[in-house]
Amino acid sequence: MRSFEQSINAFDHRHVSLVAISVDPPETTRELREKQGYTFTFLSDPKAEAIRRYDLLHAGAGEQGEDLSRPAEFLIDAAGTVRWVNLTDSLVVRARPGQVLSAIDNLRLGSPRTR
């Protein structure tokens, strides 16, 4: 997510906003956001409702056996349609901002008027 924060201007420029979701409660996300200097939106899903709806639940994966979300990234257009998905097969391999930005450009999603 650090790399996404570093590329935030490129996402802003394409009129695409970033939203991070985890089971962490709002207090924890607020701390993380302040500590790491993240500027995009963070949402809390402590009961893993959205995480379940997206079939991303990694049951018992937390340090104390809590249910967590597996890492995943979705690009959703303004009409609410999924346009690009990344489900990593390894915890150490995450989507890079460049991948998402080129997906946005290939789909011609960002700033349509300038194209």
Binding site: H15, P26, L43
Partner: protein
Amino acid sequence: MKRRWNAPIWLGFLFVLSAPVVYFSVFIRFPALRDHPWLTFPVFGIGLMLMAFGVRCAYHEPWIYRGKIFGTILAVLSIAVVTLFGAGVYYFARQLPTSGGAPKVGEKAPDFTLQDMDNHNVTLSSLLHSTPAEGDKLAGVVLIFYRGAW
């Protein structure tokens, strides 16, 4: 006669220990070094070679070099560290659910209501109708699901 300090063993052990420490503290921030630890394994390799050299000296010329016992112990420990690291990155990190039911390209993204940092309810549809930082119309949203700080 006092036997010589077996420097290659210690130096090798230092290499082996430093590789995972550097990976998790520094490389983890850089996708190019993190996704496949191509820089970590050569460091392990150098460390193990140095240790093999040191242990070989200790066994071949035990009257000159020390390290027959501690060298063997450190070598076994080092192999364990390398094995654990490899298993962590290439086996345990891949034990993820298949998520076969995750929304696919072309499908409608399921809506949700979640709390933001100020405990306000936020829905996906409200996010899609919000105004971006620049310009007048939002083109889309990237949802980044992450494991959290637990």
